[in-house]
Amino acid sequence: MEIIDCHSHVASPRYIPDEFFDGWVDNVEANAGMQGEQQRAALTRMFRDINNDPLCDEYVAQMDAAGINRAVLLIIDFKYVYGEPFDDMVDIYAQHREILKRHPGRFICYAGVDPRRGAAGVELLEIGLKDFGFSGLKLYPPCGFSPSDRSLDPYYEICAQYQAPVLSHIGPTTPSLSFNFARPEGIDEAARRFPKVNFILGHAGSTHFRDAAILAEYRPNVFLDMSGFQAAARRGQFSELMRFHKDHGIINKILFGTDWPIHRLLGDQKKWVIEFKKLVTDGILSEKEMSNILGGTFKSLSRNSLKDLCHAE
């Protein structure tokens, strides 16, 4: 059984800014009623520690221990919203390409672009897919745009041309960004207008999952990734969540993802794979369903790009 983690990031403040985790610290502090500066400092330090694997060496070691064959590295274009130089994105693409070379056959990379970059952004995406060997597009609507905005049409046309899936973030994120455009229904118009593009709703298997399940059931080109399930697993509610997807007949639209390195404080990659496989031993899912979730479905929706990658090995 091939295991593909469809949702991860390179752990580095270069790609996941410190401000992102600082927002998480704010939330933990508020939700837990933390009052000590020392506690805040300890949590900040832990988040800095887990966001420090810029060449993915520790990540590959954990993938090996977990039996994960490959993982999708998602680039997020935070530069536009934080007002940083555009050139930096090209450098970030180049560094991700170096990681692909450093760990041959282990990673698939999705280009990240903020559509407000206009023509330059469209060109950046095409460079990513054509020249850097990337296989899909990552969108982060909390940066302030709708995934169904017409300005994204040229991007989706390129994705259709390259048979490149689009993975769009769903659900809340760090509190400095907007949650307005991060609901499942936001993707509906784009999915309708571009039926040949496969849309993966990031985290939507575990957040806003009821609304997302309706989209997955009625839009053939909409899939849900499970990353973020770790919170449900910690609450002992993961089985219930997966039963929901099975009962709604969308289990073959569900993809395994972990969002590495975000949830490293809650467990390692091996632990998350075990959580999934346990669903088979507990009689909730069949071997075939699990095989699809862990990699089969992702491979089928990636079509040419992933087939080429498999062939190259």
Partner: protein, 77 residues
């Protein structure tokens, strides 16, 4: 002076809603159902200066029981 293990057991107990629950080294975390917020608070509290502990976060996935937790906690040098 309390032993490392008994201090850790006390820190785990502090995260429980039910203070009457018995916690020992064999207690499994999936049984006491610490949610992600409480689990993070547990890690934070383990690093309180007064204990002088260090937590090996790379081994956090191996933690199933309180004993496993004690194995990844050491005295900071």
């Amino acid at each position: 002076m309390q032993s490392k293990n008994s201090v850790i057991i006390e820190i785990v107990k502090d995260q429980l809603d039910d203070s009457t629950k018995t916690i020992n080294l064999d207690t499994r975390f999936d049984v006491i159902n610490l949610d992600s917020l409480k689990f993070m608070l547990l890690l934070i509290n383990l690093q309180d200066e007064k204990y002088n502990f260090s937590v090996d976060l790379n081994r956090i996935g191996s933690v199933e029981t309180v004993k496993d937790l004690t194995d990844i906690v050491s005295y900071a040098s």
